[in-house]
Symmetry: C3
Subunit: 145 residues, 3 copies
């Protein structure tokens, strides 16, 4: 992972490019942790050689896994970072593209980068936190906290 921290006024922007075959969600979390970024918008484009996406099942209250094998374009990777249990936690959704332009998408559980992923992590606040939501069983961003 190569990272560059840029400053614009009192806000920081990280440009993060994981290495080939590095896992994207972990790389994003690690870069945010190393630079002390606790609340951010995340966008990225690039490619994965494989990925695992998720769909949240409302009844079972857990993510169903959608494995994606083979090289895909990362058409959109969008999300945010907030703090949970003292660590920056990325919440990322992805739309992936196959050879014929067909798409598959979900909550990004993991993605193996190839040949590149160009992440732009834009700090939006000193801190945003998450809170456990009893109805869904998920830990969700709480901007009022």
């Amino acid at each position: 992972m190569r990272t560059r921290e840029l400053r614009s006024g009192d806000r920081r922007v990280l440009v993060v490019v994981p290495d080939k075959r590095e896992e994207a969600v972990a790389a994003c979390a690690a870069a945010a942790g190393e630079h002390g970024i606790a609340a951010a918008q995340v966008t990225a484009v690039g490619g994965f050689e494989s990925a695992v996406l998720g769909y949240f099942d409302r009844v079972r209250r857990e993510y169903e896994r959608i494995p994606v094998d083979g090289q895909v374009e990362v058409l959109s990777l969008l999300g945010d970072i907030a703090v949970h249990d003292g660590h920056p936690e990325p919440h990322l959704h992805a739309v992936l593209g196959r050879r014929d332009g067909a798409t598959v998408g979900g909550h990004l559980l993991s993605g193996t980068v190839w040949p590149t992923l160009e992440l732009i992590v834009t700090e939006v606040a000193p801190e945003l936190t998450k809170r456990w939501d009893p109805e869904s069983g998920l830990v969700l961003m709480d901007p009022s906290a």
Copy 2:
């Protein structure tokens, strides 16, 4: 809807999280109106329990409605806000994901949030306005105005 206004230099960022079952486009417009934001970039991820998307028909010059029923991941919600008739008007497009990773997308006419939607509204200017376009019959952003 819970909203947090953050400042970075002379630009503001709103983090907007609608309540469960709140309509997303109206929530985005209301948050922008309450905070006096007249020109912004919008990104979001989260989930909808139902939505209505649109496809612009060039001949009939109106949106065809694409109803989406059942829980979907909001894989990408992307767009902007500009002022029309004195009010901030969101222009949002969405890609939604089903249980098997299949996607459906369009102009976001309405979306019912569940369990969350994490909107990041980044002010880009004091104001951007829209102007009626006779060829399409649409009101379109005019950055030169």
Copy 3:
């Protein structure tokens, strides 16, 4: 193409709206060049009346072309700008939507705008550069350069 340059602290934001039937990637590159923007995040929504998408073939090490004919919604256009050979070069991925909400996506090789495309180009640094990658044969962003 109509462009407006906005300043926020020491960072600039371009709002770029190509003309009807203008090619989107060239318009984005031209706007960045005219305003001296060498490193940026790009997001956009709008419509294309036709487009050519790409899928990177790992074996042949070149993009396979995916022609998209007919009016489509630009559901997400996401990417960045970095400098290559002295010129700002957009790297853009797109997800496009058809009348029934079906999607097609890829690396954006070209897109013919109709009726509008609302590009938001947010400067992230004085400069980001690209470097030739021997394994893929591509020129990739190098944030450490």
